[in-house]
Symmetry: C2
């Protein structure tokens, strides 16, 4: 912990990589592109999971579990889907190893070749819709509102901890409905669940929008998304919710008899967020001293560091701390008393700053005499002395304030970095000098979108849901346009 | 639900298979050997997970996540380990599909062959110990007490829902210690955690013991286990805890400098339970009417069925039920009000019996007049009328009684089915006619163990931890023996 991070303003990418490592969040594994999520990082992910899982259940969903493997032929059933996923998947071809004849170790047993190869799921629409076929006969079987927490694999060539890894953890919701309207409503409901989670728990403001055709999920008729802005001015897609139309129902022949006894194809949705959210969380608030965590997702919300000389002082401080700790815990606040005896307070301060603990309490022998403690908040680094008398409610208030403050800071940053431009020249200049979201008119064609991406690396992040209609001309083609869309370079 | 189950006494195996299906717990997937865990089954597994996870954390463990894939060469590092797992594993050899030239779909792209094959983890010792090497340098880094919840794959040829599947869900604890004594203590602690969970939550009595050498985990120096007895007289291994000695530390060269600055190899343990526990839970208590669940693991603890004619009666009943339901929920009891209007009460009764809901409340118009309800308990099928005045505490008591009662019933059954035998003739006769655990003297050699297994299909389930020393002679070889061991046919 002695050595600090690279400066965020000087090398954002190195800052991120070092932060993930130094805050003990994750590391690369011996398997190319797969990560090890370390206990502290995993504790944050668990908080995310618990919160989201409750939100899913509160909106009527249940969890289930579907197989890791997908028969190769299933992928091909939906034409767009296979195009989207076949190029980056892990393929299981054999089911046994045997001892090498030369004694050098184990080799694949050629006699144990699978008749049909299995794909490690990159997403589960195909295997789930093939199952839904047996579960759905009547309108009484609908809606079917399921979710699974799972690992998935997409063979990415360039990987980055949390942001893009070959294996990642996620949840995938898969719902089936009797009508188009219901399915669209579900797609939107889940988008709003994601947005609420991002804003209220991650303190990360997001734009709700829909993707253009070329950025849509492979097999969807409409992809809704939430897009966040990172501190380097790049956008990050934080969650997607797909209206699948009847595509998978048709591919797997999933029908139901409606109230008039007519056979209809089922309407579907799917929606997911992943450990990528960890990357977003890290980048949204952290600074040159390390991680800054929103209190609602911090595994340790308060750390208490004793400042003492000798056993006797420590014993007195520990006794006082025990009372504070149990009162805070009774309020549902998680507290760590860092009484490691081989480390100096300054080292501990830096350590917990690196790990993003929202509130730090330091308490020494003099504090005991004066009935005070020193409290430091991680977000603003302000330190202040407080009376011990009502320290628990001071801390509880402070946690709320921090949650709020980092959201507003991120919101101001985001709003300052949505720039309206009227020409392609201006577009390119803002993109190079300022970054962020660029709000511009676009003619609605994939051709223009592709050209702009080729020339500038910016993509259309979304067409915001609450867009105002506005007459204008496309910055690239000069053709007429009825609304602005948001461009950005993205993770 | 109209059609019942095969009788448990007539065809135990068909009874189990149909029960898993009819209670909506799980089903086979299109992928050979992999199961779909349905929402109701998964809700039970979630309760198990939450309970165990809290027990792990209360004993000082944290969760983390390690990769799904293991490089082939890693498996070979520990000689016994590779022998144990190489013969039944899913092997990833390629990372891309491409369109078939004849347009028939997608095929494996031969240009995308991996340099080294990857094994889908059958268990994670190798990849975890290769990671621990970088995490452990000093005695201050120990103990390392981690767990992961994950899916694993073992290519079983004969599969059965929950009991033996190619992919299954489990938790695997992996700990590292400075001394042999500490590691053995950890192994035993976790065995007792499993036993406590089985007995207090699953209401399933277990024998704690150690495995013989030939039944040990591949790579362990000692395997501790809990063994349960199913209603057909077969044993089921419900959890294992392994003392790994320094085997994996040596295979992956994991050392630490001790307090005297001497380099030592680390001592290890690993321990796991899986969705197999679902199979055990199902078989431990259920009957010809369906599932019998211990209240502590039942997703729905109380179902309330209205008995009514017409909307007006239903409205009055519903109003009363709303009050009961919210009072029960305030006590942490989960309640389902089954007001489906197209099904008769008798159908609903059978449906919830099949699903094992511990307490059923029926309430009709006459009950409202009399201020009573009818309460039926799933375990004994007793029905009784109670006053509505204190119905919530009656139900709470009943749930406790059911939890207790099914445990004692299972315990009596288990104790009645541990038979001491003194000769091989007697052994074979008890095995064929009565089944259950057979307590017999054994000479301690793998040869005798193997012969008995070949001739009778019975295996040594364990050497019980609290075994009395007793002079005797081996039932098979006649050689001297100092203690009895437990034999049984097993799942
Ligand atoms: Zn069809
Ligand atoms: Zn070594």
């Amino acid at each position: 912990m002695a050595k600090g991070l690279p400066k965020r303003s000087e090398d954002y990418s190195a800052w991120y990589n070092e932060l993930v490592k130094k805050a003990d969040l994750a590391e690369n594994s011996p398997v190319r592109g797969c990560m090890v999520i370390k206990p502290y990082g995993f504790a944050i992910w668990e908080k995310m999971q618990q919160t989201l899982d409750k939100m899913f259940k509160d909106t009527g969903h249940s969890n289930a579990y579907f197989p890791l493997f997908i028969p190769k032929s299933y992928l091909s059933r939906e034409a767009d889907h296979v195009e989207g996923f076949a190029k980056e998947c892990a393929v299981v071809t054999h089911y046994r190893l045997k001892n090498a004849e030369d004694g050098s170790g184990v080799v694949v047993d050629p006699d144990a070749k699978l008749e049909e190869e299995l794909i490690v799921r990159p997403t589960s629409e195909t295997v789930i819709w093939s199952t839904y076929k047996n579960w759905i006969q009547s309108h009484r079987d609908l809606p079917l509102l399921l979710n699974q927490w799972a690992n998935v694999v997409r063979w990415e060539m360039r990987t980055r901890l949390f942001l893009r890894t070959a294996e990642f953890l996620w949840q995938e919701g898969h719902t089936a409905h009797a009508t188009k309207g219901e399915a669209i409503k579900e797609t939107e409901t889940m988008l709003h669940v994601y947005a609420k989670f991002a804003e209220e728990f991650m303190s990360m403001p997001v734009v709700r929008g829909v993707k253009t055709e070329s950025e849509r999920f492979a097999g969807a008729e409409e992809t809704y998304c939430i897009e966040a802005l990172m501190q380097d001015g790049k956008a990050l897609q934080a969650g997607t919710s797909h209206f699948l139309g009847q595509n998978f129902a048709k591919a797997f022949d999933v029908t139901f008899s409606d109230k008039n006894n007519q056979l209809q194809h089922v309407w579907g949705t799917s929606w997911g967020v992943s450990t990528r959210l960890m990357g977003a969380l890290i980048m949204a608030h952290s600074d040159d001293e390390g991680l800054v965590l929103p209190p609602k997702l911090a595994p340790i919300q308060v750390v208490i560091v004793p400042i003492y000389k000798g056993e006797e002082q420590l014993a007195k401080i520990s006794e006082k701390v025990a009372g504070i700790k149990s009162e805070l815990e009774a309020r549902g606040i998680s507290v760590k008393f860092d009484d490691r005896d081989t480390l100096r307070p300054g080292f501990k301060f830096a350590d917990w700053e690196m790990k993003g603990v929202p509130v730090r309490v330091a308490i020494g022998a003099r504090d005991l005499e004066n009935n005070t403690v020193e409290i430091a908040r991680r977000d603003t680094k302000e330190k202040q002395s407080y009376s011990l008398d009502n320290v628990e409610s001071v801390i509880a208030d402070l946690l709320d304030q921090i949650q709020e403050n980092i959201f507003h800071k991120a919101l101001m940053f985001r709003d300052d970095n949505i720039t309206k431009v009227e020409s392609y020249e201006e577009f390119k200049e803002v993109l190079e000098t300022k970054g962020g979201f660029i709000s511009a008119h676009w003619d609605g064609t994939p051709e223009t979108e592709e050209k702009i991406q080729e020339e500038t690396k910016a993509t259309i992040r979304c067409i915001p849901l609450e867009n105002e209609e506005e007459e204008g001309t496309c910055i690239y083609s000069g053709k007429p346009s009825t609304q602005r869309v948001l461009f950005a370079k993205a993770y």
